[in-house]
């Protein structure tokens, strides 16, 4: 009963592992670009949850984990905007035009 009521580090780690595994499953199985981006985001948010939970429950209580999570959010945001821009560019420009751009 104490395991259910006293929420500690392990509870958050279990949730993070589950989210990471679901994200990995989605990344490996789906061919859809939107869903792969979402699966990547799920994995990154699980990593961020790990950082923050270790920062608040670990032996060395500091803000370093939270700052790592902020960097992670910024980097992942840039990465996903780049991915979306690639999708838009690939769909708006036709394949012939893209080939000519790369040849030049």
């Amino acid at each position: 009963m104490d395991l259910l009521t006293n929420i500690g580090l392990y509870h958050y780690l279990v949730i993070a592992i589950l989210l990471f595994c679901i994200g990995l499953y989605g990344l490996l199985t789906t061919k859809n670009i939107i869903k792969t981006i979402f699966a990547l985001g799920l994995m990154l948010s699980a990593i961020g949850l790990n950082f923050v939970s270790f920062a608040s429950f670990g032996d060395f209580k500091s803000v370093s984990g939270q700052s790592f999570q902020i960097f992670l959010v910024i980097i992942s945001c840039v990465q996903i905007i780049l991915a979306i821009s690639f999708v838009v560019a690939a769909k708006t420009l036709k394949h012939k035009k893209i080939k000519t751009v790369f040849k030049k």
Binding site: T5, I7, N32, K35, S56, Q66, Q69, V73, C77, I80
Partner: protein
């Protein structure tokens, strides 16, 4: 408070795991994006439970709202055969998102006495507290505690979600 935090933890964990599974297995893009935003908002709720409110603002702002909007825009650029023909029904995903937002709103209100501060602002408006005007208290809260910003932001988002739901219900009735 301990019991409440435990309850919130289990609700957030249920919403995050179930929402992620539904988002990966849903047929329509927009439905998947809405469930994804629900999952990221619940992860922001975990950050609030871990006393990392700034990270929660980033998570909710960037992952819960900005990136789903970008993804929704990018779906319009995809070819027709890649898009699924199933009609997006907003009524399935929005209750979950609204529940997540409401839970975070209540959690913030319980943990940090934001409701009392809101009440102070309202009483300042009525002229009961003449020494500190309402704008002064509001600005003080905004500068000292960014959590107040989250509450205001969440109220706006929650009202938007409720409005979208109402519009969809009225459209269905007209049809």
């Amino acid at each position: 408070m301990d019991i409440l935090s435990v309850i919130f933890f289990y609700i957030f964990s249920f919403l995050s795991i179930v929402g992620s599974i539904i988002a990966l297995n849903s047929k329509s893009f927009l439905n998947a994006i809405m469930w994804a935003s629900c999952v990221f908002v619940t992860v922001g709720g975990f950050y609030i439970l871990l006393n990392a409110t700034f990270n929660a603002t980033l998570q909710i702002g960037v992952w819960g709202i900005l990136i789903p909007i970008f993804l929704a825009i990018s779906t319009s650029y995809l070819d027709k055969p890649e898009q699924n023909k199933t009609k997006f029904n907003i009524k399935f995903a929005t209750p979950a998102i609204s529940i997540a937002f409401l839970l975070i709103f209540i959690l913030l209100g319980i943990t940090s006495n934001y409701f009392e501060r809101l009440f102070e602002v309202i009483t300042g408006d009525l002229g009961l507290n003449l020494e500190y005007s309402s704008l002064a208290i509001l600005s003080e809260n905004l500068t000292l505690n960014y959590g107040f910003l989250i509450v205001l932001f969440l109220i706006v988002v929650f009202l938007l979600i409720v409005g979208l739901n109402l519009i969809s219900v009225f459209k269905d009735r007209e049809e």
